[in-house]
């Protein structure tokens, strides 16, 4: 039982980081209808940036904030290239984000090298109900909870957030009431970059990232995101937690090498299930 709790807690923590990546996917997809293949890159960039900032003598806190800002900037750049040109169809944008993801490897290797990078987060263990929990886990969960709270406030109670939602539900009508849909798309990419960066900042102390860690991060995030059909952040959060716990249990009780297989199988399973409920003709209009 203790072992189970231990696995579950670590699963919830990794699930939270998946949730942040997944929300990045959702925020971008809702507004621009683009699935951003470079989503995992933001996490890698932010994680590596923190370790650089720390080694340059910057204290914890500012280093993390700066790294998230850097990831947000990366998001904006990806957005400008992927959707900045008028009339780029979403699937072409998808291929562009894929190209940017691959191209970013060159930049990342150039700056940080091709070896895994890590830094120490919150050290120490907390005793909770008979098990010991790393403080970093608690930090991850707390930051994720706060982020989701802020996001829900932002989308429901600010004009900007409502404008983003308007763009996602009907871009044409949004344009009619004077919302600049393209600018909202860029804003979504920036937000997505920041969310990905936040995930990277939180996860790097738990597992070192290397330049090609982005595929694994993106796959976990995407698998969580399609729980909510790529549209609902709340469902994505639930999906991410389920996924995180399932992976931790598989890795703990069965085999660590099968951990990443869980996300793949869950993703394929979900897609197959969703496919059964849709007709191809309805898809085109959507």
């Amino acid at each position: 039982m203790t072992l189970f709790l231990q696995y579950a807690v670590s699963g919830i923590a990794t699930g939270c980081t998946f949730a942040l990546v997944a929300t990045g996917f959702v925020v971008i997809y809702r507004v621009s209808r683009v699935v951003n293949f470079a989503q995992g890159v933001f996490a890698v960039v932010a994680g590596m940036a923190v370790s650089s900032f720390l080694s340059r003598g910057l204290p914890h806190g500012p280093a993390e904030v700066l790294a998230v800002a850097l990831a947000a900037l990366a998001g904006l750049v990806v957005g400008v290239i992927a959707i900045g040109r008028r009339g780029t169809p979403p699937l072409a944008s998808l291929i562009i984000t894929l190209g940017l993801g691959i191209g970013s490897y060159a930049v990342i290797i150039l700056i940080w090298g091709d070896q895994p990078v890590s830094f120490t987060g919150l050290a120490g263990l907390a005793r909770m109900g008979g098990i010991s929990v790393q403080y970093q886990f608690l930090l991850v969960v707390a930051v994720t909870a706060v982020t989701f709270g802020l996001l829900s406030l932002f989308f429901d109670h600010t004009y900007l957030g409502k404008a983003l939602t308007a763009c996602s539900s009907n871009p044409y009508a949004a344009r009619l009431v004077g919302i600049d849909v393209r600018r909202m798309g860029l804003l979504a990419f920036t937000l997505g970059g920041a969310l990905g960066g936040l995930a990277g900042v939180l996860i790097t102390p738990l597992q070192p990232v290397s330049f090609d860690s982005d595929v694994g991060i993106a796959i976990n995030g995407f698998a969580a995101a399609i729980f909510g059909g790529l549209l609902r952040p709340g469902t994505a959060l639930v999906g991410a937690l389920v996924l995180g716990v399932a992976e931790a249990l598989v890795a703990g009780y069965y085999r660590a090498s099968f951990e990443s297989g869980v996300a793949l199988v869950v993703m394929l399973g979900l897609m197959v299930w969703q496919a059964g409920r849709r007709s191809p003709a309805a898809e085109e209009g959507a």
């Binding site: 699935v35 190209g99 691959i102 091709d114 996300a263 793949l264 197959v272 059964g276 191809p280």
Partner: protein, 344 residues
């Protein structure tokens, strides 16, 4: 009228390309011939991927997985079960297509980006299954000693091994490209072209949309399986590391450069990208240069080419050139339209 005037040019260009590709091996040395074989194998894979992306509007990031399945099926059949190589090659092609049907049946009902992620996931699963099934595949250390292609007692070996493989590969390339050309002009091809313009429109006109998409997906996988089989016989050693995700991306770049849905463009795209990567590899490896340089260069070029092509030449290199020529000759637009417009 336009057809009458245009046809001879296309015909002679095609004939010239065919004759040239048959003459080229005579002038090449062994290592250049190896590159020539690899380019041919890429063309075969890209011909399928281009068809899938251009006509069915689906992105596959798992072509290297089908390539791997073809290679391993051919290798296991000939090495462990001692099936004649030619039969194994046919079986590898067919088996890859069957796997694609099983994977695509549910997934092709979804929008394009789902298949992109699903095929990526599929490739990772295939690679880990190959790595785990040590008894069958040799695991991560790979499978050495795959016999060469042979018909009865006639085996491709000895001094002219690479030379003959070059011809085998490029004859297959010609067959695949001709098949694609005839397919696009046939009745199902008209359905596919309708599908490429509007899925709902095609559905309304009685085109079995899902079935056609699935068949194109299976065909593209079969091509990859065929190329993979030849690859296994040619290099005689395969490992999971021979089929990284980056290889799938490379196929995608080749298809994009050649022009999605452009039949002859697949040959141009594969050749251009392969030679470009080779050139960068040789530029990046030298005394005094940092060991990561080749990797950095190839990642940068992959990214740059993909982004620039998608932004500025979405119809691809060859169709763009064809467009220029036919515009100058005041002949109607080229046969392959800018299909990306409907990649929705």
């Amino acid at each position: 009228m336009n057809r009458l005037r245009r046809r001879p040019l296309a015909f002679w260009a095609g004939l010239a390309a065919a004759v040239l590709s048959l003459l080229v091996p005579i002038a090449l040395n062994d290592s250049q011939l190896t590159v020539y074989v690899f380019i041919g194998l890429s063309v075969i894979v890209v011909a399928g991927l281009s068809l899938l992306m251009g006509f069915a509007g689906q992105v596959s990031l798992g072509q290297a997985a089908f390539y791997a399945i073809g290679a391993y099926t051919a290798a296991i059949l000939t090495r462990a079960l001692e099936v004649p190589p030619l039969l194994s090659l046919a079986a590898a092609t067919a088996f890859t297509a069957v796997v694609a049907v099983a994977v695509g049946l549910p997934l092709l009902r979804l929008r394009g980006h789902y298949l992109a992620f699903a095929t990526l996931a599929f490739q990772l699963i295939v690679l880990s299954v190959i790595g785990e099934a040590r008894g069958l595949t040799g695991g991560d250390t790979g499978m050495p000693g795959i016999p060469t292609l042979s018909i009865g007692p006639l085996a491709i070996q000895g001094q002219y091994r690479t030379f003959i493989y070059a011809y085998v590969t490029w004859v297959l390339v010609a067959a695949v490209l001709l098949f694609n050309r005839n397919l696009v002009r046939s009745r199902p091809g008209r359905g596919l072209r309708a599908l490429a313009t509007s899925e709902a429109g095609a559905l309304a006109a009685g085109v079995p949309v899902v079935r056609y998409k699935l068949q194109v997906f299976a065909l593209s996988a079969a091509y990859a399986g065929l190329a993979g089989g030849v690859y296994a016989f040619f290099v005689s050693y395969i490992a999971p590391g021979s089929f990284p995700v980056l290889l799938s991306v490379q196929f995608l770049i080749m298809a994009a450069v050649g022009g999605l849905g452009s039949i002859w463009g697949s040959a141009v795209g594969a050749t251009v990208v392969y030679l470009l990567v080779q050139l960068l590899q040789s530029l990046g490896t030298g005394p005094g240069l940092p060991p990561q340089l080749p990797a950095i260069l190839s990642y940068a070029v992959y990214g740059l080419v993909l982004v620039l092509i998608m932004l500025f030449l979405p119809q691809g290199l060859l169709p763009a050139i064809q467009g220029r020529i036919s515009a100058r000759r005041a002949v109607s637009a080229v046969e392959s339209p800018a299909r990306l417009a409907r990649l929705d």
